[in-house]
């Protein structure tokens, strides 16, 4: 299965994979919000060898990671967050989830200088916890009581991205060398520690964070001399349902 960056055209089938695999679901606009805010951070696993089915074929999504940057980090530290990750049951144990995560983490560091990445996982989800704890070396920060809609607790986990930053720096050095036309060879070690196979169950991580007011225009807040009727805001604002509901 190929691992590559997500594009807008992938979103319907990402939404489908999410609905088929996980209990935490989102409408398409929430996926758009990720794809248009942090397009570098989300990746998909696709079956590229599958023969085309008809003239309008979209690649089958067998796994995805939907990630974001925390917009207003309470600790003031730039960090990424995994909104949702899942792999179809038919494509488990190929290490897809781990590979998706590693690509996302690298981009978090390179593009947004993230210091760590956080996520939530169901306490009962042994397979996903194995991936995060043992394969990817996340550590459990705290338990969030009744985090999920059905009343289950979540572990709030995080991974410091120092090692990824190290890796990013090495890639950058190699690029520079390449551009300078040096041929000196460096030994590259693989980034994959251990050989734990990511036996990710379909319920990976997921959560229902607020989406923010997608259509809000800060310009409209500016005070001007004349009476300005900011009538457009009320209609243009996409206050996405989850936020409204969690507030209540």
């Amino acid at each position: 299965m190929d691992i590559r960056l997500l594009t807008t055209a992938d979103l319907p089938l990402i939404q489908h994979a999410n609905l088929e695999n996980l209990p935490e679901n989102y409408f398409l606009k929430y996926y758009l919000y990720h794809a248009l805010s942090w397009p570098q951070l989300s990746f998909v696993a696709v079956d590229v060898s599958r023969p085309r089915k008809g003239p309008y074929d979209y690649p089958k999504i067998v796994g995805y990671v939907l990630a974001k940057m925390e917009e207003e980090p309470t600790d003031g530290v730039q960090h990424g967050h995994i909104t949702s990750l899942s792999v179809m049951r038919t494509h488990r144990r190929l290490g897809i989830a781990e590979k998706l995560m590693r690509q996302s983490q690298l981009a978090m560091v390179e593009t947004f200088q993230a210091k760590y990445v956080s996520l939530h996982v169901r306490v009962s989800n042994v397979a996903a916890r194995h991936l995060y704890e043992d394969t990817l070396r996340f550590r459990n920060e705290k338990t969030e009581s009744k985090y999920y809609a059905d009343g289950e607790d979540a572990y709030s986990m995080r991974l410091d991205l120092d090692d990824v930053a190290e890796l990013a720096k090495r890639y950058a050095d190699e690029e520079d060398e390449d551009e300078e036309g040096k041929t000196k060879k460096k030994t590259t070690t693989t980034t994959n520690g251990g050989d734990a196979t990511a036996a990710l169950k379909s319920d990976g991580v997921d959560e229902g964070d607020a989406v923010g007011e997608v259509g809000r225009d800060p310009e409209a807040d500016g005070k001007e001399k004349k009476i300005r009727v900011a009538v457009g805001r009320g209609l243009g604002v996409g206050d996405l349902v989850e936020k409204v509901e969690t507030k209540q």
Binding site: A9, M88, A107, Y171, E179, K201, V231, G238, Q248
Partner: protein, 817 residues
């Protein structure tokens, strides 16, 4: 000009605006009424009141009030602006744009109105208008980077790449000092400009720009991918190869990188050894990489293939990887590879040491592989598939995957009932896994068990959603469930609920289209322009997605069925039967309605009274939960157009779309459009059996044109009908078609249907259709198609045929329905 207010009222007016923005609608209305008490004809206040009413969902009150506001104060930009906003909210974009333009004329300095106009222009793809608006906005606020970017986007989308680039360059010229390296907006703007240069085909300049301006760009992956691509396009292969190697170091699971590396290294496609060496290199470098191990199977042949396949299969089977078959089935178009893979798996089983425990896992995986092998359409032998999957289940009786595959095998036998039961067995083996839950519900729907399926998926939907599982699935846009649910209802003749689902799905696609609206302004603030452009381009064609085509075809076919006039069949007693069936259906619907009401009452009784005032209360009550109004339409063909129009526009290359289009247009007597569909279908596949039936139907029309057909139209039709010569003698033409395709039951069926059109005795045609059960190449799905045909003719042969078919294929659920 807005009518002036005294200071007190002016303050109140500002309160209305604030209330509206904060969604304090009740307060806003109260304040508006205070002003209106004193100044009953204050246009701006009336307009604001209308706007608030509209936000409360009372658009039938809002529109007259907004109009009245305009009549009392034609010169107020607020009144016009509100008028535009109301139109926008009902998606009448054309009128909204007109109103905004009026408002802007009255107050040319209003940034707000200008912005609303601009957003709507890009939303409806009025790029020339958008360029105008963005130019004006840039002049008003040249200090903002986003003003420049927005104008560049306008030119870019309008297809003027050079001008787009020019705008970006002009802005860069105004920068006194280079922005910080970590300025994400700047970083992205550079990559956006680079993409515009490349889109102009000027790769040398794009590369130069990349190597200077984007040297330390924050989007490293994009920089590398672009650089590799430009270098390769410029023929600088050695350098391109190096960059592709850098990309492979970052991500070795990307087929394209390997292919491009081969191209850069100038390795000929038939030099398997050289190609394999590259993959071997990365397999050694990244021990956990899958593609480097598997990809050579695509191009190796003979013994080399066998060798590599054997080591790959052994590795994966030893690990017990269940997704092995999914990873290899694309090789099955090559029959040597198909057989070799089977042999290796068989050999793996026989070479196993039965005592060892780890071997047990491997053996189960191999048995599972073979079960999938024999279940796959290119290597199908369902008896063997059963045998292998049963052996695998014996090894691991708790395996969800094995039971799931057993259910699939049953489905391929046509035994949908047993398949659904087996999938439920698989589901029970892992109650926490939604994937198997979804599959189980899908199979239940295939077995027409709508209620049961909803209960199944309800185990995972959000419990607190008002309206139960279905409401959650609707809200979360769960397309697969709604589609399967609608199809199941359609099969059972529950037209109302089937249409209900198909329209709900159509609404979801409308929402997807609307979703882009907020991003026209949002993306400018976020600065991720390439992603925004990608979204705009996708929105322009997203209904070509097969998930939409499927729904559209479902709906159109159902409407076609509704439009069929029962009397046209000429059989006796049809009227009575029909009336009886309608009565039955109505009774069933009434019962269903009562059940829903009962359940709703129960649900409300169970709700915690302390948690009153849930968000759902504000939701509009569904006036037609069973779709009875939809089913009662007197204009099914007109309704069908809601689905057919977008489908034909977005998926003209789909033969199913063209076939459906022909049927609808013929019945609507839009012969020119029908012929257009027919000609397109002929262009896609002239031998398609359905298309053959349509050619016959159209020729019949030409031979016997309706008396009210204008001669000019008739001449056009005759001139444009392509197969006119060969169809001169229709009976002969049809005969020849049947002979040509005598080995294909579906083609023969179409030829028989054409005979009926041509006046051959119904009884004779029925006999011929019934005879298909003995056709040498007939499968149960052909028998189902034949049965459907007989049913649609209300043939007396139905029962006899059903029995004959069931004798041959005893477990096929669709034959006994």
């Amino acid at each position: 000009m807005p009518q002036p207010l005294a200071p007190k009222e002016a303050a109140q007016f500002r309160t209305i605006i604030r209330s509206f923005e904060d969604k304090q609608y009740k307060r806003g209305l109260k304040t508006a009424d205070l002003i209106l008490k004193k100044h009953p004809k204050h246009g701006d206040t009336m307009a604001m009141k209308a706007l608030i009413l509209n936000s409360q969902g009372k658009s039938d009150e809002a529109f007259p009030l907004a109009k009245e506001a305009l009549t009392v104060d034609m010169k107020s930009h607020i009144c016009w602006h509100v008028y535009g906003l109301l139109y926008r909210s009902v998606k009448n974009f054309e009128e909204a744009i007109k109103a905004y333009k009026f408002a802007l004329k009255l107050d040319p300095s209003s940034a707000q109105i200008q912005r609303d106009l601009a957003i709507l222009q890009v939303h409806v793809r009025d790029y020339q208008g958008y360029i105008q608006s963005r130019t004006a906005m840039l002049q008003a606020r040249p200090q903002l980077r986003s003003s420049w970017t927005a104008l560049a986007i306008a030119h870019h989308l309008a297809g003027n790449l050079a001008e787009a680039e020019n705008v970006l360059t002009t802005y860069e010229g105004t920068l006194k000092s280079p922005p910080s390296r970590y300025d994400i907006e700047h970083s992205e703007a550079v990559m956006y400009k680079n993409s515009i240069i490349a889109e102009q085909g000027d790769y040398q300049r794009a590369l130069d720009h990349l190597e200077t301006a984007a040297k330390h760009n924050l989007d490293r992956l994009a920089v590398l991918e672009c650089r590799a691509d430009y270098l390769l396009k410029l023929g600088r292969k050695e350098e391109a190869a190096k960059v592709y190697r850098l990309l492979l170091d970052r991500n070795s699971e990307h087929t394209l990188y390997y292919e491009k590396l081969e191209e850069a290294l100038e390795i000929p496609a038939d030099d398997a050894a050289a190609r394999k060496a590259i993959y071997d290199e990365y397999a050694a470098k990244f021990p956990r990489c899958d593609i480097a191990r598997r990809a050579p199977l695509d191009f190796l042949s003979g013994d080399e293939f066998r060798q590599v396949a054997e080591s790959y299969l052994t590795l994966m089977l030893n690990k017990g990887v269940p997704s092995l078959f999914a990873n290899l089935k694309h090789l099955y178009s090559d029959s040597f590879k198909k057989d070799t893979l089977r042999e290796i798996a068989e050999k793996y089983i026989t070479s196993q040491d039965i005592d060892s425990e780890s071997k047990d896992k491997g053996e189960a995986a191999a048995l599972y592989y073979l079960a999938q092998h024999y279940n796959y359409h290119m290597s199908r032998d369902l008896a063997k598939a059963h045998e292998y999957v049963d052996r695998a289940i014996e090894k691991d009786p708790k395996s969800v995957d094995f039971h799931m595959t057993k259910a699939r095998i049953l489905k391929h036998e046509g035994n949908i009932k047993a398949a659904a039961e087996m999938m439920n067995t698989a589901r029970k083996l892992d109650l926490k896994d939604r994937y198997i839950n979804s599959k189980c519900a899908k199979y239940q729907l295939r077995n027409n068990e709508n209620e049961k399926a909803l209960k199944t998926v309800g185990l995972f939907t959000r419990a607190e959603t008002v309206g139960g599982p279905l409401a959650d699935l609707l809200e979360m846009q769960c397309i697969w469930f709604l589609t399967e649910d609608g199809e199941a209802y359609a099969r059972q003749g529950n037209t109302g609920l089937a249409l209900k689902r198909f329209h709900a799905l159509n609404n979801i696609f409308d929402v997807w289209q609307d979703d882009q609206f907020d991003f026209h302004s949002f993306s400018l603030r976020k600065g991720q322009i390439r992603a925004y452009i990608d979204m705009v381009r996708w929105e322009d064609h997203f209904r070509d997605h097969p998930v939409y085509t499927r729904v559209a075809l479902d709906a159109v076919n159902l409407y076609l069925k509704m439009a069929e006039k029962p009397s046209a069949n000429g059989t006796n007693g049809v009227g009575e039967e029909d009336a009886l069936e309608k009565k039955k259906a109505a009774k069933k619907a009434r019962k269903e309605q009562q059940r829903l009401e009962r359940e709703e009452a129960e649900r409300q009784a169970k709700q915690d009274p302390n948690k009153g005032g849930q968000a759902g209360d504000a939701k509009k009550k569904d006036e037609d939960p069973l779709g009875l109004t939809l089913a009662a339409t007197t204009n099914p063909l007109g309704e069908a157009m809601k689905f057919l129009g977008p489908m034909l526009q977005s998926s003209p290359k789909s033969i199913e779309a063209q076939i459906a289009g022909f049927e609808v247009y013929m019945r609507r007597e839009k012969y020119v459009l029908a012929l257009q569909c027919l000609n397109r279908a002929l262009g896609i596949d002239a031998e398609n059996p359905r298309v053959h039936e349509q050619v016959v139907a159209f020729r019949k029309l030409l031979d016997n044109p309706p008396s009210d057909l204008p001669p000019k139209v008739f001449e056009t039709l005759k001139a444009e009908f392509k197969p006119s010569e060969e169809t001169a003698d229709l009976s002969k033409f049809n005969e020849a078609f049947q002979v040509k395709h005598q080995d294909s039951p579906l083609h023969v069926l179409s030829a028989i249907k054409a005979k009926l059109q041509l006046g051959v005795d119904l009884a004779k045609c029925e006999k011929e259709v019934a005879g298909l059960v003995d056709h040498a190449n007939a499968t149960f799905s052909h028998a189902v198609a034949a049965l459907e045909t007989l049913k649609s003719w209300r043939s007396a042969e139905v029962n006899a045929f059903r029995q004959a078919a069931l004798a041959k294929w005893p477990n096929v659920t669709r034959l006994s329905e």
